[in-house]
Amino acid sequence: MEAELSFLAPFVYTFKAEVRSLVPLFQHLLSPFEVYHYYMPEFRFMSELWTAQYTGVKVSTLGSFLKALKEADDDTIYYHLYRNMFEYHFLPTDYWNSFSYWFAENGFPVLAEKFSALDLIECVCLADIREEMVRILEREGHSFDKICKPFYFIRAVRRTVDLGVVARDLNEFREGIKKVGIHSLFYHLVTSRLVHCSPVNDFSRWLMEIGEEKKAQEINRIDLISHSLYRLKDRILEILES
């Protein structure tokens, strides 16, 4: 019986093993649609919550900033680079991260621009982006000893939470997107990619698994920087409904 269902094998990797093992036993009681439904990979909507912890690292020169940047943990880099997107995504701010604001305020406009232009969406690994920042600082930085206003390094304390919303087909997925908030979108489109070091976001990966390649590609192509998370949600729903 298991062999007869082998064509569904690519779809089952996320399915809970204990439930999956029961389906063949009752297959004769289920319609083909129901069998397919139970073998579809499920998508669990997660979300993330942040709070901020002061690392105790306070710097007042570009030189000490560079040193701290090299030594900071990933959650600290993550906080300063992604906080704007997480919290201020709906506002037309001048720069895309708090590093840039500090540079601008202290007379380093080129560094402010270059740091703000870092492509956070293409980035799949924080180590790479840290290296890039260090390279920019070493190449473009000057007046490393000039006394500036202090910069406080803050760490993101994050929790991933299961929202209890599960989708097994496109319809449920669409309804799920409607139910969850913008931080869930942020988690699946941004954080999860960094965690898995993947160029593909969670939504697109799952859509590909259920054979919705076109929708998957369209969602993966959306420019996350140019839209607020609310607009992104609408855009994703448009794609899913097309």
Partner: protein, 401 residues
């Protein structure tokens, strides 16, 4: 009650909070401060405690006891931490503080709780009761970055006996705090009389009561009568603006009956007004929340131009009402106002006047900045975000970082 907030926030947030709270189910939390009435801490606890209970976290609130003598000492400690210029703590002051702390050890039962949150310096000595397995958090609502050294030395031992501290902004953290330090800004409550929607008729009646012309532009600063709030600088900025543009200035605030300096500043402000009928100096009772709300809603531009400030939540109150704020480029004000996006940050009286003028003449700019200001508060300075931050700290301390 949580449902009442749903219309103000992204709908996913309540689901996220419930999920986070499920992980914390069964824990018992105690908040301790020095008063149930008056002040920002009591105001926030009146709402936070029931909200935590609604999420299934058993949460209680206790107030320490003390007489006039004790609170005179704690007020002195508060001032010495916040503004170090002052008469230092005497041995008698320290003994008074310790005596009342000792008495409160038996008055406040902290034993049954998993998490004890102690607000501000008044009750902080209670930490000597800390039991194994408990998590104690010191929630500091003031700027202790440059305190009187002797006062800080006295309190430092208590501070570092806690499991964690929470400050409004990193700038307020004193070097020497060796425990994990979280950065959690305060918040406003959209359901409080200070912030809830008001009917136009009520707003008009308030303006009438204070003889303010609703048809002409209003520049407003809400703050207690205190030199640190720079009411004289605001008046000067208004006078610069008034040379070219028609407007009225409203300085609304209060001073406590036991605050002789406040009364003195109030008199000086009245004197500085001269015979300008367009400057309205309103000394309001401390519970005039609806009146302040109405004034903020009727303002054309909200100004907050202190020389030194704790956090300045009045900025968020103005922003919540869709007003662009011209604020001092300091401390908590600069954490709320995003320059050019939700208002303007200024470093001088002339700068303030320039920005006020810019806003008075450009309705579209006011609307744009005002809309962004409200959105900024909606995402970052409402009480639901504050609640989430507390739960995150509890989770981190109890379940690991």
């Amino acid at each position: 009650m949580l449902e009442e907030y749903a219309r103000y926030i992204d709908k996913g947030i309540l689901r996220e909070l419930e999920s986070l709270a499920r992980d914390l189910k069964g824990i018992k939390v105690l908040h301790v401060n020095s008063t149930k009435l008056g002040g920002g801490v009591a105001e926030i606890l009146h709402r936070l405690v029931p909200l935590m209970n609604e999420l299934g976290i058993e949460c209680h609130w206790e107030v320490i006891r003390g007489d006039e003598e004790f609170f005179r000492v704690t007020k002195k400690i508060h001032n010495l931490l916040h503004m170090p210029e002052g008469k230092p703590l005497s041995h008698e002051d320290i003994l008074t503080y310790l005596r009342y702390t000792f008495e409160n050890l038996s008055h406040v039962d902290t034993d049954p709780y998993d998490v004890v949150v102690v607000h501000d310096p008044q009750p902080m000595g209670l930490v000597i009761k800390r039991k194994k397995g408990q998590r104690w958090i010191w929630r500091c609502h003031i700027d202790v970055s440059s305190p009187d050294e002797e006062t800080w030395k006295f309190l430092e031992t208590f501070v570092n006996s806690y499991d964690a501290a929470i400050f409004h902004i990193p700038e307020f953290v004193r070097e020497g705090v060796r425990i994990p330090t979280f950065v959690i800004p305060p918040s406003i409550d959209p359901l409080h009389d200070k912030n809830r929607e008001l009917e136009d008729g009520f707003i008009k009646s308030v303006l009438e009561r204070f003889s303010i012309d609703p048809e002409r532009p209003i520049v407003l600063q809400v703050s207690r009568f205190d030199r640190l709030k720079d009411p004289f600088g605001v008046m000067e900025a208004y006078r610069i603006v008034k040379r070219r543009l028609d407007c009225q200035l409203v300085l609304a605030g209060s001073f406590a009956s036991d605050d002789p300096e406040g009364e003195e500043v109030y008199r000086e402000v009245l004197e500085a007004r001269g015979d300008d009928p367009d400057i309205h100096i309103l000394n309001l009772p401390p519970d005039s929340h609806l009146e302040i709300n109405a004034l903020q809603r009727s303002a054309t531009v909200v100004v907050h131009k202190p020389i030194r400030e704790g956090f300045g939540l009045v900025v968020s109150e103005g922003m919540w009402k869709g007003k662009p704020v011209v604020g001092s480029n300091i401390g908590g004000v600069r954490r709320q106002v995003i320059h050019g996006v939700t208002g303007y940050l200024v470093s001088s009286t002339e700068g303030a006047a320039f920005r006020i003028k810019q806003l008075l003449v450009d309705e579209d700019l006011r609307r744009r900045l005002g809309e962004s200001a409200r959105e900024r508060v909606r995402h970052s300075f409402l009480i639901i975000r504050h609640l989430k931050d507390y739960l995150m700290v509890f989770h981190t301390l109890l379940k690991g970082g």
